[in-house]
Amino acid sequence: MRLAWLVLLLASYMLGPATPGLAQHPARHVDEEQVHTIATQLRCVVCQNLSVADSPSEMANQMRAVIRERLAAGQTPGEVVEYFVDKYGEWILLEPRRRGFTALVWLIPPLAVLIGLGVVTLLIVRWTRRPPAAPTPARLDPAMSERIRREMEAEP
């Protein structure tokens, strides 16, 4: 039994403080949901691609504590997020801002979908208009005869 405690002591590479976050009884009641929501918007800086809400790392823990504290001190969620952006830059936001240069990343994909839709519509319209039996053209220009030659060679 004593050995276990000894070993436990030796094992503590990364322990939290002796009195972990619970000791900080906030000045006002903090909604954990709010903490969680804010934490989902911030990138955990020592992880790869995890939010502060999801990350099990110590740094994320500390960041959540900071969020909690700031909310308890009366800051709005927006202000808390801005605090982190102030310290780390926009990189810490998991969702790029919708204004400024990053607006591009929000605009271009829907634009691509619209363009694609336009192309598909054009193709469908073009294809439904083509008559079932293609009439032989009155005149055969060189490009066309070249194409015909190639196509006839190509098809097995």
């Binding site: 503590s12 590479y13 990364m14 322990l15 403080p17 800086v45 020592v46 110590e58 740094m59 500390q62 960041m63 504590a65 900071v66 982190f84 102030d86 310290k87 780390y88 830059g89 990189w91 490009a143």
Partner: protein, 175 residues
């Protein structure tokens, strides 16, 4: 002319390939600090030796704030002697070196300090609030603060003697 349009297809991929090649020049983990040129956030912590450390107490001196951890191998191990030497050389000339230990345990930190014989003040940032205040991503990170309290440089990774000396010299010679 229309026959040439089809060559646009392979050509259109060139910008993407160029962009990917550009990626080699940038390090995705190298995030610039927004704090450069701004007032250094103040802090007050208790050193391992028991006395308080406060940033504002050193206004008027060039302050080097170094974030480290005992498990940060090899970088923190490389720079600890550099910092200690810098401290010894420059302390009489108006330079302050403060070490802040983050995400660590008390005994491991003390062992680190003892092993490297660090004589400049070191404190443990228990809650991590100071490191977050400074926008610290990982260890080691070193901030060079000028005499009026503004952050002038953030160095990510082990500090070298060269970086230490040139930065400190530059900040000292400013009026």
């Amino acid at each position: 002319m229309r026959r040439l349009l089809r060559w646009l297809i392979p050509l259109s991929t060139l910008p993407v390939l160029v962009l990917l090649a550009y990626g080699f020049r940038s390090n995705p983990r190298d995030i610039p600090s927004p704090l450069i040129g701004r007032d250094a956030p103040s802090f007050t912590l208790t050193a391992f030796t028991g006395e308080p450390i406060s940033l504002t107490a050193h206004r008027g001196r060039v302050v080097v704030v170094n974030f480290w951890a005992s498990w940060c191998y090899p970088a923190c191990y490389e720079e600890a002697p550099v910092l200690e030497q810098g401290w010894q050389q420059w302390r009489e000339r108006g330079v302050m070196v403060i070490g802040l230990d983050i995400q660590d345990t008390d005994d491991k930190a003390r062992k680190f300090i003892a092993d490297f014989g660090l004589t400049f003040p070191n404190a443990r940032d228990v809650t991590g609030k100071v490191s977050i205040d400074y926008g610290v991503f990982g260890v080691p990170e070193t901030f060079f603060i000028d005499r009026v309290g503004r952050i002038r440089l953030r160095h990510v990774g082990a500090v070298t003697t060269d970086v230490f000396r040139t930065t400190v010299e530059r900040l000292l010679t400013e009026s």
